[in-house]
């Protein structure tokens, strides 16, 4: 269960699912993502107030941002989309009912703002992988290949395609009517067979997300932790007032006590493990897994800020050495694939140096 919704953790083989995301295409159902449409004369002012990031978006553009509490803690991870003077929010990290209650609580009396929960009738399917664009092109035509990152368009059948993703590979989130979900999934799987596409559960997506240092609202939040500690200040506006902005300004002025830091370890690293320096605790692991791509455990740890720097090989977890490194932990094949030149069938010709970014051996 994620945010009160049943989500498939895996389809029997997490390693194969990760390999699909890293080498071909993974097809995932994301029923826990809430899709909302905000409309009305005051919609822009309202969204600008509840979303922490800048809202300078042209029609058809999207942006990654956050919804914060008044104390600056993260409530939800969100894509905000400008849809012809209406706004779409794709949010996760918060139960749908609580998310709606949060939004309604910040809607001023008398404001002309309507909030429609599209999730009552629609669901998100996500395609992720270095050849996800090829699967999209097979179904939607070659025009989709030039579709810029963080943009979206409406298509036939009440579908909306958002070029996004949280794995470091090409990604497309498709919002479609739930009644068409089964047929559409079959359509993707049929067309994806030629690309070695497979269904991918949330566990593989989250593991790929950590390898690329994506914020995970389900794993990385904790009391007292704000975007300042999580290195997510790029998602915040520095010019406007929004819900939580006073707390963020105060936190930045005081300086964070801890900061999210990337770790690589040769042994098993798990959530909750204490990170030490000369046997003294300096932090705790908040997300970790074994990365088949680089052959070591990778982790996000919240370290005391004095120790929270990359390139240090003197820390340990349960006595085993770990090394702080600068994420992302992996190279992405998508950065080397050119959709104008390459294809899944010619993938061996792509000059990819391999998944390991450097020599991360702890």
């Amino acid at each position: 269960m994620i945010d009160g919704i049943d989500v498939v953790a895996h389809h029997g083989d997490v390693e194969a699912e990760i390999a699909a995301v890293r080498r071909s295409v993974g097809i995932s159902l994301l029923p826990h993502v809430t899709a909302l449409r905000v409309s009305g004369a005051d919609a822009k002012a309202f969204v600008d107030h509840v979303v922490a990031g800048r809202l300078l978006l042209r029609d058809g553009q999207a942006r990654q941002s956050l919804l914060l509490s008044e104390s600056g803690e993260i409530l939800a991870d969100a894509y905000v989309c400008n849809d012809d003077d209406r706004f779409l929010l794709f949010a996760e990290g918060m139960e749908r009912k609580a998310l709606l209650a949060h939004l309604f609580a910040h809607r001023s009396d008398g404001a002309d703002v309507a909030i429609d929960d599209l999730s009552e009738s629609h669901t998100v399917i996500s395609l992720n992988g270095p050849f996800a664009w090829e699967l999209m092109a097979a179904l939607e035509g070659p025009g989709v290949i030039g579709f810029p990152y963080l943009s979206f368009y409406h298509a036939a059948g009440e579908r909306l395609y958002l070029r996004a993703g949280k794995t470091g590979e090409f990604g497309y989130d498709v919002l479609l009517p739930t009644k068409a979900l089964s047929a559409t999934l079959d359509q993707f799987l049929d067309a994806g067979r030629a690309l070695d596409a497979r269904q991918v559960g949330i566990e593989a997506l989250w593991r790929c997300g950590l390898e690329n240092w994506y914020f995970n609202p389900h794993l990385h939040r904790a009391p007292g932790i704000t975007p300042v500690e999580l290195q997510l200040q790029w998602r915040l506006s520095h010019k406007k007032e929004y819900v939580g902005s006073s707390a963020i300004i105060a936190r930045r002025a005081a300086g964070p006590a801890r900061r999210a830091t990337g770790l690589v370890g040769s042994g098993t690293v798990g959530v909750g493990d204490t990170v030490t320096f000369e046997d003294e605790p300096i932090g705790v692991v908040i997300d970790a897994h074994f990365s088949p791509a680089i052959g070591h455990s990778v982790a996000m740890a919240m370290l005391d800020v004095a120790f929270a720097h990359s390139g240090v090989d003197r820390y340990a977890i349960r006595g085993a050495p770990v090394r702080t490194i600068s994420p992302p932990f992996v190279n992405n094949l998508s950065m080397y694939v050119n959709p104008q030149r390459d294809s899944f069938n010619t993938r061996d010709a792509v000059r990819f140096p391999g998944s390991a970014r450097s020599a991360p051996t702890p």
Binding site: L150, Q231, W234, H238, A306, H309, S310, G311, P327, N331
Partner: protein
Amino acid sequence: MASRIDERLRAQLARRASVLGEIRRILVEELRLPMPADAIDPDVMIFGTGLGLDSVDEVELVVLTEQRFDVVLPSTVMHDGLRTVNTLVDLVLALSPKAGDS
């Protein structure tokens, strides 16, 4: 907390913090990034999402970094060294043994 850090680690962290601070300064003062320097997180992506710099900024950032630290960044810098602020710090420290020394 910091009192537990021995001299060797203190020197290593100070050197890194110095290079990080200088790259933040370049981003804010030279490339006119509209944010306070302490809001530039070390692991933020430089291009696209993240800081949102473009290919013109890339050239300027490379030139300014090379000038400031007296290094020559490799031609493959875009794929690895310029992914985040911290990967650029890594690269500078690897290329210039004295970078960040006070």
